[in-house]
């Protein structure tokens, strides 16, 4: 990824709505051909940031560059971007064909070429033959595809998607997620997606920028975000994480030794330690799937602890167990696949749990 050219660059971008500071010093780059997501809760500024790329919002200070060119003063209808809106914004009084071909209106192409381009675009999004349909008679999923076709037919350098899947039901959403990935690979251009659904972002993106309150909290690929979140806030936003108190014992170059409740003494890499706090009090975080229940005769590959089961939650394909690790004062939740088809432990059972220091994250 690092050898691809930069397509979008933000340099210390600020945006104010009156007194409201919506974007607080955004600095980031997005590479050409990436599937990039802006992820965050409502009101974090992700849609605002997207719209500054499109040109629908002006910025108060800083620079927004597309393909190396400063976009200050460049109006939206001239920028090399196209957008799929949250409501799809399909023109209800036109047919599907007219919608998809709308952007070609000013193009000097011949009519036949335009018709051909429209047909190809429709086929690419799986709407072959829908050309003559009235736009207001389409389903949600169909409208979205029309919006995609309408944007992609113009061969923009960047495709912007504003929460495109939020209006669809779960099944449709999962299907469209795969389609969008396929489409992006096929077309090869930069896709920038705004979403509040972290699963969606994890599934589709090459890299994700997690935003809270107008700032980028962490910008990384999905695996790094999941395994090495740089703060408790990011950790809690992406998936679930358990936290236990820990005390920092000593620190050397690149290694930190801590005493964690429930885990005992652990040595961690500097890469596993997040935050800038001083002092010895900290928290250890770990994901539910990183603790494994050990049965009779099984031994841990790395480290081991004892725990008591306090709650069992059956979920069909998984079971979530609340465990009280020895030496801790709160429950932690772990997850386990129901290989046997049903939960294997009862409340009150004592069990050994295996874990690996590499799965822990220290938050100062």
């Amino acid at each position: 990824m690092t050898d691809k050219p930069v397509m979008i660059a933000f340099q210390d971008v600020h945006k104010y709505y009156g007194d409201y500071h919506a974007l607080r010093g955004i600095t980031a780059t997005i590479r050409a051909g990436e599937f990039f997501s802006l992820l965050g809760p409502s009101g974090c500024g992700k849609t605002t940031l997207l719209r500054t790329i499109a040109g629908f919002e002006d910025i108060s200070s800083g620079v927004v560059m597309i393909d190396g060119k400063d976009m200050a003063g460049v109006p939206a209808n001239v920028r090399p971007t196209n957008m799929v809106f949250q409501s799809y914004a399909i023109f209800p009084h036109l047919t599907v064909e007219q919608n998809v071909g709308f952007g070609l209106r000013r193009d000097p192409m011949s009519k036949e070429d335009k018709a051909k381009a429209v047909a190809e675009a429709l086929e690419m999004v799986g709407l072959k033959g829908f050309g003559a349909r009235a736009a207001h008679a389409l389903s949600g999923g169909q409208r979205q595809r029309v919006a995609l076709a309408r944007a992609l037919i113009l061969k923009p350098q960047v495709l912007l998607l504003d929460e495109p899947l939020s209006a669809l039901d779960k099944k449709m959403r999962e299907q469209m997620q795969m389609e969008l990935i396929r489409l992006q690979r096929q077309v090869g251009i930069t896709f920038i997606l705004v979403t509040h659904d972290q699963e969606e972002a994890l599934v589709m993106s090459d890299r994700i920028a997690v935003m809270f309150e107008g700032e980028i909290a962490q910008l990384a690929d999905p695996e790094t975000l999941y395994r090495r979140p740089n703060s408790r806030k990011v950790a809690n936003f992406i998936g679930t994480m358990n936290f236990l108190p820990a005390r920092i014992l000593s620190e050397e170059a690149g290694r930190v030794e801590v005493d964690a409740q429930g885990f005992g003494r652990v040595t961690l890499d500097a890469a596993q330690c997040m935050g800038q706090g001083a002092g010895a009090e900290a928290n250890i975080g770990f994901r539910p799937e990183t603790l494994t229940i050990l049965f009779e005769g099984q031994s841990a590959q790395d480290r081991e602890s004892m725990a008591t089961v306090t709650e069992v939650v059956y979920y069909g394909d998984m079971t979530y167990y609340d465990l009280r690790l020895d030496g801790t004062e709160q429950d932690t939740r772990i997850s386990m696949r129901n290989v046997f088809g049903r939960p294997v432990l009862d409340i009150g059972t004592r069990t050994r749990v295996a874990w690996s220091p590499g799965a822990l994250v220290l938050f100062r």
Partner: protein, 273 residues
């Protein structure tokens, strides 16, 4: 546990009685328009269409009708255009003074027409403008524009803002966006607004009466006819036609409004509310 709904007969009876009350005078129009008598009373004297004939032959009435239609058409056109500006401004932009200006535009709805007429009269006379059809149009526009604004505001509000942005994103300019996207989608509202303003202007009396100078308006003409009992049935005939015209225009306006809603996928709720 839902309580059983008893058929509200009493209520229904009231509703029917109320409707009769509302329509009573209107129903009488055709009754006496076809009644072969100069006196408007029971018992009826026989069927005739001669009043319609007399009305049709009356040159004065035609002049008045022509004037009123001219005024109505012009007022409706001007109001609809002004209404377009006002509705677009109020639904799409924020700017200083928005509240007061829009309130001023809507003010004629709550001002007694007499006061409107008198203030305009004072203005025209002091500036030295002669009263004519033009002054009536100027007055009517004040009265009909609030209706246009109300209808068009509702039309603009049901317009998804992203549609404009989408057109812009696809390379259009603000003016071509207006022409290709906004105008077609708002067209039903424009038609409805025109028809309503036309109807309101046609029926308006006070401003027409006081601001028309030497050229009479239809409503003023009717007002004058009441002094001559012999002319009354003729007026009944005219009234019948006017009612049918108004109802027809209204039905047309409603039809257009619903068709517009269907195309943009909105819900058709109760009328021009």
């Amino acid at each position: 546990m839902k309580t059983v709904q008893r058929k509200p007969w009493g209520h229904r009876a009231y509703a029917i009685a109320y409707l009769i009350f509302l329509y009573a005078p209107i129903i009488l129009l055709p009754v006496f328009a076809f009644n072969n008598s100069v006196i408007l009373a029971f018992p009826l004297e026989g069927f005739t269409t001669k009043w319609f004939g007399e009305m049709w032959a009356d040159q004065q009435m035609f002049n008045a009708l022509r004037n009123s239609v001219t005024v109505a058409f012009s007022s409706a056109a001007i109001s609809t255009i002004l209404g377009l500006f006002a509705a677009r401004a109020s639904t799409r932009f924020r700017f200083p003074g928005k509240g007061p200006v829009v309130a001023l535009v809507m003010l004629p709805l709550v001002l007694p027409e007499m006061i409107l007429a008198m203030s305009l009269l004072v203005l025209f006379l002091s500036v030295g403008v002669n009263l004519s059809i033009l002054t009536v149009i100027l007055g009517h526009v004040l009265v009909t524009t609030p209706f246009a604004v109300a209808i068009l505001t509702s039309a603009f509000q049901s317009l998804d803002r992203s549609l404009e942005e989408a057109a812009y994103d696809l390379g259009e300019t603000p003016s071509s966006t207006f022409r290709l996207i906004i105008l077609p989608l708002v067209m039903p509202g424009i038609v409805a607004s025109f028809l309503i303003c036309f109807t309101v202007s046609l029926d308006e009396f006070i401003i027409s009466y006081f601001l028309s100078g030497t050229e009479p308006m239809l409503s003023a003409y009717i007002y004058g006819q009441f002094r001559f009992p012999a002319n009354v049935p003729k007026v009944m005939a005219l009234g019948t036609i006017l009612v049918l015209l108004s109802v027809g225009l209204l039905a047309l306006a409603e039809f257009y409004r619903r068709r517009g809603m269907a195309r943009t996928g909105g819900k058709a709720s109760g009328g021009f509310l």
